[in-house]
Symmetry: D2
Subunit: 351 residues, 4 copies
Amino acid sequence: MFFASDNTSGVPAPVMDALVRANDGFAAGYGNDTVTLSLRDRIRNLFDAPEAEVFLVTTGSAANALAIASHCPPWGAVFCHELAHINVDECGAPEFYTNGAKLVPLGGAQAKVAPETLADALARAGKGGVHQVQPGLLSLTNLTECGTRYSVTALNALCGLACDHRVPVHLDGARFANALVAEGCSPAEYSWQAGVDTLSLGGTKNGLMGVEAVVIFDPARAWEFQLRRKRGGHLLSKNRFLAAQMIAWLQDDLWLKLARHANAMAARLEDGLRQHPDARIVFERGGNMLFVQLPRAIHTRLQAAGAQYFLWPDHATLDGPQDVPVTGRLVTSWSTTESDVDAFLRALDVA
Amino acid sequence: MFFASDNTSGVPAPVMDALVRANDGFAAGYGNDTVTLSLRDRIRNLFDAPEAEVFLVTTGSAANALAIASHCPPWGAVFCHELAHINVDECGAPEFYTNGAKLVPLGGAQAKVAPETLADALARAGKGGVHQVQPGLLSLTNLTECGTRYSVTALNALCGLACDHRVPVHLDGARFANALVAEGCSPAEYSWQAGVDTLSLGGTKNGLMGVEAVVIFDPARAWEFQLRRKRGGHLLSKNRFLAAQMIAWLQDDLWLKLARHANAMAARLEDGLRQHPDARIVFERGGNMLFVQLPRAIHTRLQAAGAQYFLWPDHATLDGPQDVPVTGRLVTSWSTTESDVDAFLRALDVA
Amino acid sequence: MFFASDNTSGVPAPVMDALVRANDGFAAGYGNDTVTLSLRDRIRNLFDAPEAEVFLVTTGSAANALAIASHCPPWGAVFCHELAHINVDECGAPEFYTNGAKLVPLGGAQAKVAPETLADALARAGKGGVHQVQPGLLSLTNLTECGTRYSVTALNALCGLACDHRVPVHLDGARFANALVAEGCSPAEYSWQAGVDTLSLGGTKNGLMGVEAVVIFDPARAWEFQLRRKRGGHLLSKNRFLAAQMIAWLQDDLWLKLARHANAMAARLEDGLRQHPDARIVFERGGNMLFVQLPRAIHTRLQAAGAQYFLWPDHATLDGPQDVPVTGRLVTSWSTTESDVDAFLRALDVA
Amino acid sequence: MFFASDNTSGVPAPVMDALVRANDGFAAGYGNDTVTLSLRDRIRNLFDAPEAEVFLVTTGSAANALAIASHCPPWGAVFCHELAHINVDECGAPEFYTNGAKLVPLGGAQAKVAPETLADALARAGKGGVHQVQPGLLSLTNLTECGTRYSVTALNALCGLACDHRVPVHLDGARFANALVAEGCSPAEYSWQAGVDTLSLGGTKNGLMGVEAVVIFDPARAWEFQLRRKRGGHLLSKNRFLAAQMIAWLQDDLWLKLARHANAMAARLEDGLRQHPDARIVFERGGNMLFVQLPRAIHTRLQAAGAQYFLWPDHATLDGPQDVPVTGRLVTSWSTTESDVDAFLRALDVA
């Protein structure tokens, strides 16, 4: 009953097999190998973006921070939702990589930036001239931190506002696959066609060992990205082992299948939880994350039964009156099984 | 009718005289001169802080950013009011000098950080462990950006909370003198005795050409500050010309007299404005700043009559329906005259 | 005939097997798993350093830059050999991570910092007071960039000088294992007992996929390192896959066996090359790297025969008079075979 | 007998008078005043550069670091002489402002970068691709740190090399006036016409209180500079007091007269010293600095007689055998008098 995060899972067999196959003899270092080149071409095809550049790193924080720094100056305002991972969970990585850009946290229901909030922020930004940080970048997260999902329409609207102010858009796609299969659109529609300039395409949470691709749709930014990646210590000499994983993951739509499975497990969990009289689903489920309010006593019981998940937000606690509801954050993954879900629901007496 | 800012004023005669006197022959460079040493000793006496170190810079942004960086690591959270100058008007100087610390904007009525808001923020900060920025520093501003004033009691309460979490406190005292004379306490009571670790003691807005002292109450931080100052390009070779100004300013309580005058002019302005049926004073006046809501038509008339001041906030505008009230920000200074004030009030038909 | 770098090799079977085994079910993220904990304990034992902290990253540049930044302030001078990887081949990663520390390149024969050179540099450093960067850190590389090796005695002497000036010591051990087995001492003797404060313990060049351990002998520095690692985007969520590789590598002294093999292959290459009348070994071979001067014509012939290696330094070229000697840099690895070596020597007509 | 530095002097009467005049009433803040605008126009005329932008700061380190950062990316190599002020005496300010660019110290006789040395460095730079810092900027100093002077021809040659590699050129002109009057060319010939992209035009060492102008010949870089200046805390609110000083200094060629006087005093010193049998002039005098080798015993005697100057380099000392020659660095200024010089020479028994 591991629902703490999709990054507590391992990797599926085809990915491991690809690693074994990649471990054959010598290969040029630092991404100059044929496997890496081949991955780039696949992603270009997949996104219908023949000029996009693709670079691999091993963490989502690195992907985000490097992508942001390559599109935003040190005196830029980075507009993002106040709950965004880059704002809350990366220990200041974006500030570090940009050399001190300012994250401007925006409110918004369901962890989604509302167009009017963004419009206001853009309209005000930098109006004080040199005294203020300048409009720099819009960073959206999809799935959001609360597991909700931007529709293609919503994404277009937000990117359009940014574009009107000549502000580039970064998409933190740590769970891009989960959003994509739920939305049912194409990768292109869900990224550059909507106005996204650079995408952190997450692999780790969906079945890789620590592989994230940064897709840069404007190739003019690519060389700077490469220098920043090296300088950040994120250029792996044996890059083929990252690329091989991601190729296997893309092969035969495996990444989409894994994401669909994770989403289905979350749906099963949601269905069960909705049977429980004391459970309240907090956010609209957009993919493989579920936020559910339950009395502390029930969380205590679930955890005693072996369920692993975090309370939300970070400072929530099971200490205190046991009838008070607190929120649990349940994340399913490609490797979550129906029996995991059902065991959880049984512990809740709803299965 | 110059009410745009106290920094549009010049310097009083004793300061200019001191400059002339300081311009006599040769002096050791980089603050190793006797004038600089003498200033340090005066400030130590004034603050009853015999071990404090005192360093001069030429802007408030430099004073704030260097003081903050010397007390807060790159991964620190800098708690401040959302309207704080460091958050809004320094183009990211604190982020730059700290190498990417994160400013955590706190709400609070009257531009003052409320104790409960701070307590909450401190309680939550860094609870996510290594994923999050750590409690770093509390930066307060007194007078605040909205011209309100923390009482000694309020200052003690906020600093006490910070101290409980081992978080040092910076005080942005760009208008420290204005606050001090209004509060009627001693410099020590209004700084280190309340729990302030480092103070940006503003001279520029109160009669100097561009002189701000950073007072560091914990001498263990002083060497780092000096290196940061040099590295930031803020160590003047002819430092005596800064020190001489500030000595003249402290002499015979000139700085307090200047501040009292500025405050008195603001009070006169307030008294007059309160006579006007359409005027609404927006924030409690703590010193020499006044925020007043007036219909656009009246602002238009005042400005046509030659009154110079800014609307607030930055994005406010006189374009639009003329009966709608918008806020003007009026700042008086040591060189504001009664006739300036009265001319303004006459233009309003209240004098 | 792949002699371009030891990082063009793959990983040995036990490492791959360990990855497969680690891929079993769920594990806590971000290094809070039992595999990571177990690795830390092994390294503590191996280095006879029960309080050392051990953190994993995926590149040598990250290991170096993070280790350096955790031991040297922004205004520090980082003393290193002018040919050091950190100075020449990391695109400014140390400057980036330290927020602008200054690398002070020192000369020295055989790519080794000579004690007198270091003593001079330390004696002069920071003598100009606040105007100059301050003595910050000594970074040594062993094996050096030219494949030479510091003896235990030499290492002690250099670290001793640093210690006399209260300057901590970083050891870039990208090829630590190769040096260690050649020197025939213990890991402790070759690190902290000699005066090393922090070690980049390289795994990648000696059989791992991209795993480097930073060993911090002073645990007081560990928390800062962890924050810097996170902030740099170098904390992997599925950290177990890094730790598992390194555990397999340490198991039954595999790492030492791999290193001994690589060194033996370089020795075989050296023996052969010494037979050739036009070959001149440029640097004393300390482990698995060989720098050999040959006329351009011979390099051309070797490369035509399929030998892969770099000329040295970077700007050397095969264009120009073919009788002029230029230097080739040959690196062997755990996976270099005798037949690779012999094929190379045959192409040279010396085998 | 103050020969420690030209920055130990004060300011001439016309500069002080201008300050007094500028202190009249209110003026717009932050450089939006008419005095600042007027200065910009004068410098444009003076340099025959109608599109140049001009910004004021209060230290040479700030001028240099901001100018460099506005023309060189974080991953840039900054080529400069190994003795350059930016490399030796600014505590890492360029590294800080650029976010970690790497200063590449070049040798060269007489503290001047030799064309062949620069050509080599440019030819090698960045040849290792993404692993290395990229050619970023050439920074020259004129007068050099050793008081020598680049001829217009030499300056053209060096800038030409940089231009061939698309590397912009910064000129540290802390003593630009001293060089200019000695060379006898126009400001334009000695800057942009020779290929300089940005100039730190020093006022402080030649009679101002702490005023340096950064002249940016490519206006496309100006907005970035302004943001960096603000962010660095170097935008003074009462900027008129800086501008007024520099206007007075330019008026009626005062700056040139002051520089000529300083140079003449250095010439008088040199003439006298050349009479002394044990004196050896170390570097060709280019303006107002003199480096002279004398036995320690003579330095001791001079200093006992009240002569103030530094030994060179920083770590030189009067401790040790008194017959050993060490170098003294003598700097004259606009306020050095003939009687100062003659007193010095008398103490040497050569006048």
